[in-house]
């Protein structure tokens, strides 16, 4: 009963305080925390889900299993038992011919896909659903002009031994992988595929099992398939649809996580500062209550209930605000994300609520603990209200723990924040020491400004560290964001090659070269051979001995191996053998891509043996290269030195940016079909469009989150200036009383803010620069860039922001008469 009554009393006191604005700063901080977390999570989820859905639509499913052999039934059964929708297809590359009454039409290489009626599981309206047993064929729109197809009267198309009537054309965002994916597609019912007679021992079939459904079930299924490590199965999921997209998406996910954590940290800091502001007030009240006879347990209860009720109420308000903000920007989001998949609101709300409560408790815990331990004798003898730095670090430790619990996998962020806080503390010690020395030499109002700062060094350290951390987080985000944008843009320049020509036989080389030149395309045909790595240092290398799926897969397939005197100049050379080492061996040389070298533990000087259609050749590793897979240039895992005596099965390939005003990939395809049959022209524009769309969406989300964190950070800076308000105003009062002019007080006041901002900016920029470079290098795997301007900007920005905030929050007091000031604050 007493406990219940205590609860009532606490709520009554809280309500009274709220009405008078006593809890405003703490409440504001919790509202910021919850609103930010809710908004960021909701936006992040929505961006992620929309992008994954887009990728799923491109893929036609959430996850697709592909194999060159029929896929075991157990996978279909498992997917169905998990409640997932399942669809199957089989694809082969073949020649299609239009059947005319009088003459045979042109042949065109197509990707023929037999599908079950469930295909596609995920897509927009463009794709056809093909009923079982249908004797019609559906053709991709691009094939219509290419083959001269029409629907009225319907063209008839010969596929193997059967003739199908064209139903209609369709457009597809879907793109497969591998070379066959670049041929245009035709679809028929799966059960009619065998009638064509095209399925046979020699045909290179791709069997696919597509699944879609609840995210959790999809993940369970995908994980199970990956864990089975079946070497013939390739798993493609919407989460990471291809290697090109995977890297871009991973970077975006990491930034979204970073933004979310930054928001929590920023809001937490505002609570820390606000709680320090409240500590003195709580201590007085608690000392009085203890003198009046309240037990410590009771006081703890009364304050805990108040804080908890405040946390819940403010967090709820924050969640509502975050959700409202999100709803407000939904129309804008719809312009950037198509389809727009709104993230789960309930889970995010619960998370926002929990975070508000946790952030309040973890940052206010030390102040709370310290306050309830106030002895009653504090009423008669003043006790120190200075907060030891250990308190600050303890709070930071707690919040890092909370952040660690909610963001498993982001330990590097937490670690860097912890290290940063420690370094900031040391740096702020040094700055205070410097300020003290400066104060000795300064004079007039400047001396007074510095004195105002050094009066309570503990508080200034906390302010410096808090403002420094906020600015640091902002700088870091600016830095990483700029790096992201620059690298993404750099990775896809305007003249990015969008068309590939492959399978050019040596006797066709000149004809193809001439044809391309006629179209105004100036490109070189690169010789290559298809081969499989079979031995390292004469020891066989087997797929079954490899630990990783990728390691197994790459050994089972033939790779495109370039045959060049030197690797392409757009590859970055990482290591090369010295001339002395070269002299030791007379074997021909091979240059190896870094990722492959790491995968198989390859080093300079080792020998590699390749099997080229039964012909074995051995090479010595001469160099290691780094390749940008996102660049769409011709890249190879291996580049071997040409050997006139080895008769390798050479073919040529090339890629280039096509000038759409001169010709189109379709036109080129037609003329190539005439001049050099068998040569494949691949239009990669579709894949690039997908990547660019996804990157555009990711960069929008990144900028949006950045803006929101920036706004939240400014409010934290505001609370930081408020923390020392009382002592600042008391010193102004003293100055005014002894006759200082309003102008002098103004100068002193604003200089204090400018100094604080500049020092914090200096600290923040230095650490942001270092951390940003480390993150770029090691986490985002991008080339770090040094920004000397960052320091100048940070120092100026820190000063300007603090002066503006100081002016906005303190101008009222600066204008008060000494007596009015005394009445309010004396």
């Amino acid at each position: 009963m007493t406990k219940l009554n205590d609860g009532r009393t606490a709520v009554r006191w809280l309500w009274r305080g709220l009405k008078k604005g006593d809890w405003l700063w703490l409440m504001l901080a919790v509202v910021i925390a919850s609103a930010t977390v809710t908004f960021v999570e909701r936006l992040g989820d929505t961006a992620k889900e929309s992008m994954v859905r887009k990728a799923a639509m491109n893929l036609g499913a959430d996850t697709v299993l592909e194999s060159s052999r029929p896929i075991a039934d157990r996978w279909r059964e498992q997917a169905q038992s998990l409640g997932l929708s399942v669809a199957e297809s089989q694809t082969l590359v073949t020649m299609a011919q239009v059947a005319h009454d009088d003459e045979a039409g042109e042949f065109q290489m197509v990707r023929l896909k037999g599908v079950t009626p469930e295909v596609p599981l995920r897509a927009t309206g463009g794709l056809p659903r093909i009923p079982s047993g249908s004797s019609q064929v559906w053709a991709e729109q691009a094939l219509m002009p290419l083959m001269g197809l029409q629907t009225d009267p319907a063209s008839r198309i010969v596929l193997g031994e059967k003739t199908f009537e064209l139903a209609e054309a369709y457009t597809s965002d879907q793109a497969g992988l591998g070379m066959s994916a670049f041929a245009y597609e035709m679809r028929i019912a799966l059960d009619r595929l065998k009638d064509t007679g095209l399925k046979g021992p020699g045909s290179r079939m791709t069997y696919s099992l597509s699944v879609a459904g609840e995210a959790e079930a999809v993940q369970t299924f995908t994980r199970a398939v990956r864990e089975a490590e079946s070497p013939n199965l390739e798993v493609r999921s919407a989460q990471s649809p291809s290697e090109d997209l995977g890297q871009a998406l991973d970077t975006a996910w990491q930034f979204l996580d970073l933004a979310g954590l930054s928001a929590v940290l920023v809001a937490g800091l505002s609570i820390l500062i606000a709680s320090r502001f409240y500590l003195g007030r709580w201590q007085n009240m608690i000392a009085l209550m203890r003198a009046l006879g309240a037990t410590r347990a009771r006081i703890t209860r009364l304050f805990a209930v108040q804080l908890m009720a405040l946390a819940l109420g403010a967090a709820l308000l924050g969640v509502l605000l975050g959700q409202a903000l999100f709803v407000a920007i939904t129309p804008l989001l719809a312009q950037y994300f198509d389809p727009l998949v709104l993230g789960d609101w309930l889970g995010v709300s619960a998370y926002g609520l929990l975070m508000g409560v946790l952030v309040l408790w973890s940052f206010a815990w030390q102040a709370f603990r310290r306050a309830v331990a106030t002895p009653p004798v504090a009423l008669l003898k003043s006790i120190s209200d200075a907060v030891p730095v250990g308190h600050w670090l303890g709070s930071l430790g707690l919040i890092l723990l909370v952040m660690a619990l909610i963001s498993a996998g982001s330990w590097w962020v937490l670690g860097s924040v912890a290290v940063m806080a420690g370094l900031l503390y040391l740096a702020s010690e040094a700055l205070i020491w410097g300020l003290n020395r400066w104060q000795g030499r300064a004079s007039g109002w400047l001396k007074l400004s510095i004195a105002a700062l050094t009066r309570s060094p503990g508080l200034v350290k906390i302010q410096l560290m808090s403002i420094g951390l906020v600015l640091f987080v902002l700088m870091l985000m600016t830095f990483v964001r700029a790096d992201l944008m620059t690298n993404w843009q750099l990775s896809l320049p305007a003249d990015t090659p969008d068309t590939f020509v492959v399978n050019v036989q040596p006797d066709q080389k000149n004809a193809v070269q001439t044809l391309l030149q006629k179209q105004g395309i100036d490109t070189e045909l690169v010789p290559m051979a298809r081969g499989r790595l079979v031995a390292v240092d004469d020891q066989p290398i087997r797929a079954e001995d490899q630990e990783t799926q990728r390691g197994k897969r790459l050994l089972q397939r033939e790779a495109n191996i370039a045959v060049l005197e030197t690797p392409p100049d757009y590859n970055r050379m990482l290591a090369q053998r010295s001339d002395r080492e070269r002299a030791k061996s007379d074997l021909p040389q091979v240059s190896v891509e870094k990722g492959i070298a790491e995968l198989y533990g390859l080093q300079l000087g080792q020998t590699l043996t390749f099997d080229f259609s039964g012909q074995r050749q051995t090479y010595v590793i001469d160099s290691l290269r780094e390749v940008s897979w996102q660049s769409f240039r011709l890249n190879f895992f291996f580049v071997i030195e040409p050997q006139p005596e080895a008769a390798l099965p050479i073919s040529y390939l090339s890629n280039f940016a096509i000038d759409q005003s001169a010709t189109t990939p379709q036109e080129l395809m037609q003329s190539m079909g005439r001049e050099a049959p068998g040569v494949l022209v691949i239009d990669a524009g579709r894949i690039m469009d997908q990547i660019q769309t996804i990157m555009r969406q990711a960069s929008w989300a990144v900028s949006g989150l950045y803006g929101f964190t920036l706004a939240a950070s400014l409010i934290v800076l505001l609370t930081a200036t408020m923390a020392s308000q009382q002592s600042r105003i008391q010193s102004w009062l003293l100055l005014r009383t002894i006759g200082a002019s309003q102008r002098t007080v103004l100068k002193i006041g604003l200089m204090e803010f400018a100094l604080l901002g500049a020092l914090a900016g200096l600290l923040a920029a230095t650490f942001a620069q270092i951390t940003g470079m480390l993150i770029s290098q090691f986490v985002l795997e991008m080339t770090p860039q040094l920004s000397p301007l960052l320091w100048a900007i940070s120092v100026v920005l820190g000063s300007v922001i603090l002066v503006v905030m100081g002016w906005l929050t303190q101008r009222h007091y600066l204008r008060l008469s000494p007596s009015a000031m005394a009445q309010k604050w004396g």
């Binding site: 003198a291 009046l292 006879g293 410590r296 347990a297 002895p375």
Partner: protein, 233 residues
């Protein structure tokens, strides 16, 4: 019947080290012995730093002596845990402080309501209103301390102290921060309330005239407690 008794033979406190050559230990009270009966008014006078506030904090159980015993309402405070001492205070102790110790964010009424609400006493609001009316602040109920004069603030503190009808009231320099005229009014009010409620009063002050209003007056010199001797002063 209950007697309010104090026996404080000796008190030692650990003092903060203030300079390099300080010993670090300072003996503030030495063999102080004092007994206060129910309904009595007792004053303790002494110079600044003589240990008056320390003695008051011991008598109220806010702190413990390093030696000797303190009895309050028949209970030996030395043998009680902090929360048990708090329970003793909760039954029957009130305080008035030199710096008023009002909560700056609370109105006059809320400050007086606080101890009543803390112990969930019945008719809290009515009693708080009546207490404020008694000290002449019926018109200033919703003013915050910053909006009240020093004298008004101390009146709020008196209302807060008496509203729980304590058996014993400890007053630490209650007029120390006030001008002479206001101090006079507050002293009068304190004794009126004391007479009216028959509360035991323990008053610590440096004002000799104020001290002499009490039935017994002691002075604290060099850590020892003696009957107030005008000649010696």
């Amino acid at each position: 019947m209950d007697a309010v008794g104090y026996e404080v033979p000796e008190q030692r406190l650990e003092a903060e080290k203030t300079s390099a050559d300080a010993t670090g230990t300072l003996r503030i009270l030495k063999g102080c012995a004092l007994s206060v009966q129910r309904g009595e008014s007792v004053s303790i006078i002494g110079r600044s730093g003589s240990g008056k506030s320390t003695l008051l904090s011991l008598m109220a159980g806010l702190a413990l002596p390093t030696e000797g015993e303190v009895h309050l309402l028949g209970q030996c405070l030395n043998r009680l845990q902090e929360d048990e001492r708090a329970a003793v205070r909760a039954q029957a102790v009130g305080f008035v402080f030199q710096n008023f110790q009002l909560m700056p964010s609370m109105t006059a009424l809320e400050n007086v309501l606080m101890p009543l609400e803390l112990f969930q006493e019945a008719n809290a609001r009515e009693r708080a209103l009546a207490a404020l009316e008694k000290v002449g602040l019926a018109e200033r109920l919703h003013h915050r301390p910053a909006q009240l004069s020093g004298g008004e603030q101390q009146r709020v503190a008196l209302a807060r102290a008496f509203v729980t009808e304590p058996e014993i009231l400890f007053a630490d320099e209650p007029t120390g921060n006030l001008d002479e005229t206001t101090a006079g009014h507050i002293q009068q009010l304190l004794f009126d309330l004391n007479a009216h409620t028959r509360t035991t009063l323990v008053l610590v002050t440096h004002d000799k005239a104020f001290a002499r209003h009490c039935q017994k007056a002691y002075q604290l010199m060099h850590g020892r407690l003696e009957i107030l001797d005008d000649e010696a002063e």
